[in-house]
C-alpha cells in the first residue's frame, strides 16, 4: 500500500469513527430545520448550474422531489428525525446531480476530443495552404515585376510595339528566334534555313522568311540594321570567317532587293567567334551556325 493510499485509508477510518459517533444513538441529525436548510442550499447550487440541467436533469428532478417531500413532512410536523432523514436524502440527491453533471461534462469532452484533434490538424492544414498561397502571390508579384522590367527595357531599346511585332514575326516563322539585348532586338536565322552546307547562295526555302523580315524592317525605317554571320568551329578560322561574311552579304543583298535601304544595313562575318552554344555537340554546332539581324535602338 502506497503512502497516499494508506493516508486515504486512515482518513476513511477516522471519518468512519466520527460518522459512527454522529449517527450513533438515535439522532440522525440534530435539528430538522437545519437539515432542511442544508438540503435547500445544496439543491439551490445544483439548480443554478446550467450543466446540471442539461447533463443531470433526472438526478436534479429526484433531488427536487426528495426536497419537496422533506418540506412537506416538516410542515406536517412529523418526527424531526424522519424530517432530517428525508432532508439528508434530498441533499445527497442534489450532490449526486452535481457530481453526475460534472463527470458527464468531462466524458463529453473526452468523446469530442477527436474533434479537437481534427480541428488542430485542420487549422495546421489551413495555415499550410495560406503559406502556399502567400508563396504563389510572391511568385506572381515577381513575375509582374519581371514583365514590367522587360517592358521598360523594351521601351528603352525599341518600344513595346516593336517587341510585339517581333513576337508576331517569330510566331509566323518558326525558324526565326528573336530576343531583346542591350544592342537592340536580335533576330536569329539558322543557316540550315538559308544556305546549303558550305555555300553562300540563298535557298529557295529562305525566300519566304526573308520576305517577312524585309516587310518587318520596312515598318521600322528609322532603325539601322546589322547583319552578322557566324559559323561553328569546324574547319579553318579564315575559311569560316570568309564564309560567314559572304552569307551576311547574301542576306544583305536579299533585303536590299526587297526594298530595304542599303545605307541602313551593315553586314559582317565573324566566323566561329561569339558562339552561342558549345561546339562539342551537334546541337550546339547547329545553334552556332546562324545569321543574326540586329535592329539597333533608334
Amino acid at each position: 500500500m502506497s503512502y497516499e493510499r494508506a493516508f486515504i485509508f486512515m482518513t476513511a477510518i477516522i471519518a468512519g469513527i466520527l460518522l459512527t459517533a454522529l449517527i450513533g444513538g438515535c439522532a440522525v441529525s440534530p435539528l430538522a430545520n437545519q437539515s432542511i436548510e442544508r438540503a435547500r442550499e445544496t439543491y439551490r447550487v445544483a439548480a443554478a448550474d446550467p450543466q446540471v440541467h442539461t447533463r443531470a436533469a433526472v438526478e436534479l428532478a429526484a433531488a427536487e422531489r426528495m426536497l419537496a417531500q422533506a418540506e412537506r413532512l416538516w410542515r406536517e410536523g412529523v418526527d424531526p428525525e424522519i424530517v432530517a432523514h428525508h432532508a439528508y436524502l434530498a441533499e445527497q440527491r442534489a450532490r449526486i446531480a452535481l457530481k453526475t453533471a460534472e463527470y458527464r461534462a468531462a466524458e463529453a469532452r473526452v468523446a469530442t476530443s477527436g474533434e479537437a484533434r481534427n480541428r488542430i490538424l485542420l487549422e495546421a492544414r489551413e495555415r499550410e495552404l495560406e503559406n502556399a498561397r502567400a508563396v504563389a502571390r510572391e511568385a506572381e508579384t515577381a513575375r509582374l515585376d519581371a514583365e514590367a522590367r522587360a517592358q521598360a527595357m523594351g521601351e528603352k531599346t525599341g518600344g513595346a510595339e516593336l517587341g510585339a511585332e517581333l513576337r508576331r514575326l517569330q510566331a509566323e516563322l518558326a525558324d526565326i528566334k528573336s530576343r531583346q539585348t542591350e544592342r537592340g532586338w536580335v533576330l536569329t536565322l539558322r543557316n540550315e534555313l538559308l544556305f546549303d552546307s558550305g555555300g553562300a547562295t540563298l535557298k529557295p526555302g529562305a525566300q519566304r522568311a526573308l520576305d517577312k523580315v524585309a516587310q518587318f524592317l520596312e515598318r521600322t525605317p528609322e532603325r539601322d540594321i546589322a547583319i552578322e554571320g557566324f559559323t561553328d568551329s569546324t574547319g579553318s578560322n579564315a575559311a569560316n570567317r570568309r564564309l560567314s561574311e559572304r552569307r551576311a552579304e547574301a542576306v544583305k543583298q536579299a533585303l536590299i532587293e526587297r526594298g530595304v535601304e542599303r545605307e541602313r544595313i551593315d553586314a559582317r562575318g565573324y566566323g566561329p567567334s561569339f558562339p552561342v552554344a558549345s561546339n562539342e555537340t551537334p546541337t550546339g554546332r547547329q545553334l552556332n551556325r546562324r545569321v543574326e539581324i540586329i535592329i539597333n535602338p533608334s
Binding site: 468512519g16 436524502l89 450532490r95 457530481k99 453526475t100 463527470y103 468531462a106 466524458e107 473526452v110 488542430i120
Partner: protein, 98 residues
Amino acid sequence: MPAPTEQLAAARAVLTQAQPTAANDAPLELFGAQEKLRRAEQAMLSGDYLHARIFAEQAEVDAKYASSVAENARAQRAVAQIDKSIEVLRNEVERRER
C-alpha cells in the same frame, strides 16, 4: 412498521455496484455508506425497523454518491490525459511548421 427488507436489499445492491470503482476513487464516501449499511443490519437484527430503514435508505444514497464521485475522478483523469495528448499534438504541429 414492516421490516425494511427491500430497502436493505437495494442498499446492498447499490453498494456492491459502487465497490469496484469507489474503493479506489471514493474510499471515504464508500466507507460511510458501508458503515450505514452495517448500522441498518444491526437495527434490523434488534427489531428496530425504523432505524433499519433510515440507515438502509441513507446507505443506498451514499453509495450512489460514492459512485458519482468515483465516476467523476475517472472522467477527470481521462480529460487530463486527452488534454495532455492534444497538447502533445499541438506542439508537434507547431514544431513541424517551424
